[in-house]
């Protein structure tokens, strides 16, 4: 599960540096675009992302910016397909499951080499997975049911499970946080260096930009572009100007309010796909008066989600009262709340909350849409007698307060989820690692536990539907909307696809000749 985390100070310092290095981008990019000056095929592909990666160790970082880069450098055993995010072979060419669902055997691709020239074997898979499990790194929860990882022979890896895990594939392949590293790697250097099997190798990483070059010995087809340079442009307007000004060829930092006008703009190609992200409001279930289910339900009834979504995202998001978006096969159509202030008032009265109420709402300027939405939420809760005290924090402080449970309510989003377990388990199970709102309901726990080990897909879906319903009814999260993934690139660039999980894969990109 990825929560985009970015060190604000890093991002701030990168603005100045990126400003300097953009000049170089203009020169090379311009030469490539115009084809003049004998640039030949040495065309540069510059991608502008909104933040600087905090570090490049795939097993340790949780920052989306890092994964935008690492997506092109590392591989996983399986990988989500672009169309429906179902798991497809990658470093593993196939897998078998024992009858009791407790032993998974993966057959590995042969002839794969790492960027340092060493061959890829089963030992590397064991090393990588053991590293995550033994050092309890960022994604160790994804291996919660894995009892053992063994290299049966150089091309076969066996995972032994303590309980059936129907979503094992999405656990080990959902994103590059489960990347395979060579067992000879110098672990300390992984913060700034990378040795993967992906289509690009990491050439250099600095404060201003990160440069990747084509890996000729890639197990698939080597990319047609020579390399990718990632630049960090925090300001959406600046990123867009850089794109139209030919300084960058691709960006995902597109202001939502510009999307409508960009759609008709020939100078820019727009990729817009419903993403699997969701944004929500969470109230502190361990703190009065929000520990009262009725108070939380009152808030849920008072909000006008359409207005919040429109304000935060213009027309680039869809209202949803559950987490999983409409396009997904795991979507459950359930929307019990309508905007009804009278109902909200009587719920508040019933909960014994007579007097005026103050709700501190923690948001972060790192994600400006939370600040915007908070102001709409504040105005909508006013008729209810709830004064919303909007607390804008820098993201580091925000995360710290969230971790300590020092809040009345907060708003944020989760991104890149694929399996329903990703959407609900860690956030809503009692004492789940991401259950910062301290929600606890034995009924929900039981449903989630049963769904987690259920092998039959239909039964599993029905269990998750019930769990989702319980979570929505209890207002553990107050779900608001699913945004679109929006990316823009120069016309003529082919082979790139905007994906629902927002993985940024430049492997098959070709530049206009």
């Amino acid at each position: 599960m990825r929560r985009r985390t970015v060190l604000t100070s890093l991002a701030a310092s990168s603005i100045a540096v990126a400003g300097c290095s953009t000049g170089e981008g203009v020169d090379t990019g311009g030469a490539g675009e115009t084809g003049g000056g004998g640039g030949g095929d040495a065309a540069a592909f510059v991608a502008a992302i909104s933040a600087q990666p905090d570090q490049l160790d795939p097993h340790k970082t949780t920052a989306y910016a890092s994964f935008q880069v690492l997506e092109n450098v590392y591989d996983t055993l399986v990988v989500p397909s672009a169309d429906d995010l179902s798991m497809q072979p990658s470093l593993a060419t196939g897998w078998t499951t024992s009858d009791d669902q407790l032993t998974w055997t993966f057959t590995l691709r042969e002839g794969v080499v790492f960027h340092d020239g060493s061959p890829f074997t089963a030992e590397d898979v064991v090393f990588s997975y053991r590293r995550i499990i033994d050092q309890q790194l960022a994604n160790s929860a994804r291996f919660a049911s894995v009892a053992d990882v063994v290299a049966q022979d150089p091309t076969r890896v066996v995972l032994t499970l303590s309980a059936p895990t129907p979503n094992l594939l999405s656990n080990i392949g959902g994103f590059k946080g489960m990347a395979i590293l060579p067992r000879s790697v110098d672990e300390a250097s992984l913060t700034t260096k990378a040795v993967g099997t992906g289509p690009f190798r990491l050439e250099s990483s600095g404060a201003g930009e990160i440069a990747l070059t084509r890996f000729e010995d890639h197990w698939g087809q080597a990319p047609s572009i020579d390399g990718v340079t990632f630049q960090f442009i925090t300001e959406p307007a600046a990123a867009l100007t850089a794109l139209t000004g030919d300084q960058v060829q691709w960006t995902d930092n597109v202001p939502a309010q510009q999307v409508a006008s960009l759609a008709g703009d020939d100078a820019v190609e727009l990729g817009q796909v419903a993403s699997v992200d969701y944004w929500y409001l969470a109230m502190n279930c361990a703190k009065a008066p929000f520990d009262s289910r009725d108070v939380r339900r009152a808030v849920a009834f008072a909000l006008d989600r359409e207005a919040i979504t429109e304000a935060a995202r213009f027309d680039t998001a869809r209202v949803n009262q559950t987490a999983i978006p409409e396009g997904s096969e795991w979507h459950h159509d359930y929307a019990p709340f309508t905007t009804d202030v009278d109902q909200a008032k009587s719920l508040l009265a019933g909960a014994g909350v007579g007097g005026p109420l103050t709700m501190g709402l923690m948001v972060t300027s790192e994600y400006p849409e939370t600040v915007t939405a908070a102001q709409v939420i504040a105005s909508q809760l006013e008729p209810l007698g709830i004064t919303v005290d909007i607390q804008t924090e820098d993201f580091a402080t925000w995360l710290d307060r969230q971790g300590r449970g020092d809040f009345d309510a907060f708003m944020l989003g989760w991104l890149g989820n694929i399996d329903p377990a990703d959407f609900y388990n860690e956030q809503h199970r009692t004492d789940g690692p991401n259950n910062y709102q301290k929600y606890s309901n034995p009924v929900t726990d039981d449903l989630l536990d049963r769904a987690g080990v259920e092998g039959d897909r239909a039964t599993r879906k029905s269990l998750y539907d019930q769990a989702a319903q319980q979570i929505v009814d209890d207002v553990s999260y107050l779900y608001l909307y699913n945004p679109d993934a929006i990316q823009a690139w120069k016309p003529g660039i082919t082979g790139y696809e905007t994906r629902a999980d927002k993985a940024v894969d430049f492997e098959t990109v070709t530049l206009p000749s």
Binding site: T372, A374, A378, Q380
Partner: protein
Amino acid sequence: MSAAAAPVRPRRNRFLAGARLLLGSPPALFAALVLVGVVLVALFDDQVAPSGANDVDVQQRLQPPGAGHWFGTDDLGRDVLSRVVLGAKVSLQVGVVAVGFSLVCGVLVGLFAGFYGRWLDTALMRLMDVLFAFPAMLLAIAVIAILGPGTTNAMIAIGITYTPVFARVTRAAVLGVRESVFVRASRSVGASDPRLLFRHVLPNALPPIIVQTSVSLAFAVLAEAALSFVGLGTQPPAPSWGRMLAEGRGYVDLAWWIAVFPGLAIVVLVLAFNLLGDGLRDVLDPQQRSALEAARARSGRRRRRTPGRTS
């Protein structure tokens, strides 16, 4: 009574003459009018603003300036004019409180340092030097990092930032006054230190402090806008010009009015404080003042000679 027999200090007349001299200069007059206007707007903001500053209406978003909304509406459908009007109150509040804070602290420090000299002077002024060593905004941001964002903390941060300026200005003025004949005379007849400090030294050291106050108000308004712009000052949804600029920045090519009107408001208020500061300096500096008076007197004589006026 003996008081009446004491040497008369023509205080009132000097003040009036000074005010007349000040308002005789067009820039200062303009500044004074603007400031009176802004203060009135800030005092009667509820009456002046056409609607509530936080009345969100997403359906009415990004309306251009027109009959319904003179300054248009912002991305949440709020009336920009109302927010600019309420923002005036925030700007003035922060400016006045922050400068008041640095005025009191800085003047006391400068007064003691300059009057007593020796180790106290060294200790206090080195402390001020330390504060001075940091760029103003950086220091304000550091203070806010410790205290947490918010309007009150912005006031404190800006106040701390400008304290050394007042300390230096005061100390320099005090050094000039300390050895004056009247101070020594007063001391020789047994006047206490507090009496010397606040009755004799401070009043005579005031002119540069007054000028500095006006100029600092301009800086304080700018600093509040800057802090709010980066999200450390006034918190949403409260309107602050700096915040409005930041929010409007992403909409410049779609809805220029969101950023332009609060930006103009900042320009006008800061300009007014600066012009007033210039005017005050001319009036309060003895040399400048006599030159000014002489110039006025000349033009006055000319005017008196014109026909029609004499009748």
